[in-house]
Symmetry: C2
Subunit: 350 residues, 2 copies
Amino acid sequence: MELDERKKKILQAVIRNYLETGEPVGSRTISKFTDLNLSSATIRNEMADLEEMGYILQPHTSAGRIPSDKGYRLYVDTMMEEKAREVVEMKEMLVERQDKMELLLKQVAKVLAQNTQYATLVSAPQTERNKLKFIQLSRVDVHQILAVIVIEGNVIKNNILQVNEEMSDETLLKLNILLNTTLGGLCIDEINLGMITVMKEQAGIHSDIVSEVIDAVAEAIRAEEALEIYTSGTNNIFRYPELADQEKASELINTFEEKQQLEELLQETFNNGDSTGIQVYIGEETPVQSMRDCSVVTATYELGGGMKGSIGIVGPKRMDYDRVIGTLRTIQTQLDELYKDEFHPGEKKT
Amino acid sequence: MELDERKKKILQAVIRNYLETGEPVGSRTISKFTDLNLSSATIRNEMADLEEMGYILQPHTSAGRIPSDKGYRLYVDTMMEEKAREVVEMKEMLVERQDKMELLLKQVAKVLAQNTQYATLVSAPQTERNKLKFIQLSRVDVHQILAVIVIEGNVIKNNILQVNEEMSDETLLKLNILLNTTLGGLCIDEINLGMITVMKEQAGIHSDIVSEVIDAVAEAIRAEEALEIYTSGTNNIFRYPELADQEKASELINTFEEKQQLEELLQETFNNGDSTGIQVYIGEETPVQSMRDCSVVTATYELGGGMKGSIGIVGPKRMDYDRVIGTLRTIQTQLDELYKDEFHPGEKKT
DNA sequence: GTTAGCACTCTTCCGGGATGAGTGCTAATA
DNA sequence: TATTAGCACTCATCCCGGAAGAGTGCTAAC
């Protein structure tokens, strides 16, 4: 059987209608809804075909039809009209000079959640590859040395190290130079045992400190590679009866609280991302188990300097795809402009 | 009317039974449950008295009785037998050397949630008063200066500052000395405009940097004063039908995601804390609106060095108070021991 | 003071009838 | 041949009423 123009129109009408109401759509409704001027009987025949082809399904005999995952997929791929959504409020809020990355991202999540009425997640940007930029040791008091580690992208980590032997300012200076000349510009895989041994030899009595610093560096880079994720509007799932039953809601809320799985989800976004950076997972397509009754739309954003992060929106399968995707695109450009205008990645703090 | 010994016993039996089953308790049940050897009719008379006195109530005529907030309060204050709960799993998990505060606290929240089957929250410890301990400026590259700010309790904040004029190493050193001698050991309220003016004068051409550093210091201290809160087991609320309906659950989940109100809740713990550091809020007693159908048990913990934080457990009013309080006490001592044995506050990172 | 007994209340559960939305099929129509 | 009107049928939902059962309050007897 072929999916002719008329069938497409009917499918589209079914989906549009279902997105709005959340109720199964009957043939009579379609007959009035479209400009096809067909009787409900004809629509019924066509709908029977569409069902056979797997685009729609019936919750039970004598109910209307609802879109299947396959139907949604076709809709998203070929029928959607992206709505250029204004995110006025967002613009205003962002403009209040936000120079702290964390606050900015939390706010993005919040505004998106309020705007779309779905649950949102935003990951902090990551640099492409984490190179060590700079190390500085300085004394805090007699037995404590502060190690500051700056990673490419100006992400900064601190560690306080305990020392037993006292250390002169001069030794500290030497150690600083030694560490920076040896390790500066390297990424974690490039630091090998050979270097460490050489440095330890040169450090002599203070070789312990070298080990501790190396550990701290490794940990700092690793920590930066673990995504930080901010969520908002988790409770929006209660707006959609198909997600609000206890078992499903509980699983979803757990996923949003634990964040582990969200990380995997957003990680996938990077790997499979197309040119626009927007992706849609419908129902079973999602990599996260607890979201198999949801749709997830993800977008990547860039803040310049190779700093990329991603944004996700989680809602029911009858999500307003047009609007969500439009909104995400707006946010993408807004974040882009924000960077151009006034955001300096160097201001990132940890 | 007086609350004699027999009435107390009956009240206790009602509460115990209700805690277990969650169902209204009838007179026949009590008559068998207790060792009073009274008929159900007698119990009924006593229960009518208890209801008149406000300790129990009837959901509707011809239902059994459930405890009122006042009843729970009496129970918690005078009838409870704290159960020395073993938190074996906890012990094991904590012992895997956790030198990162954040992970430790997240784990505490998680273990507690698993152990009690309620929702938990843990705040990061705060120092009593945030004094500035140490400032260090160092050059990252030509136009970027890294400012490291160490606050009492070894909490570290970083800022990267943009500079237009180049700056010699010597100038940087001078600035460092100037900043540390002027500001070291002061807390935020003690830094006044006079000092700032004097420093700016001394800094001459680089007075801009001084302003920026001061701003950074103020922000760092302010940021540290905002509590960081970790939550776990929010979805446990679905285990208790009296909290699991959509409206209540949604509100609660929102409270746990936003964290703002949790902060206020834990803040109260500090202010009203008694000697044991454990407090119980029953129903309407809680300062958080969305928890008016819950009970909240909070505890403060101390990690030495004046670093105090708090822990909260949120569940239904028919919470197993005995066990929760026992568990919290165990955690208190365990955290205490942890500090003694191997936890060094200096290892806190940001 | 305690208890047995009984009438009464109120919730919960279940089955059945009415309602209505929507279908599939058939036969008539353009 | 495609479309449509008409009709019988299905199924979920709603509402009602009766039965069951838990538990009470009251009274009268112990």
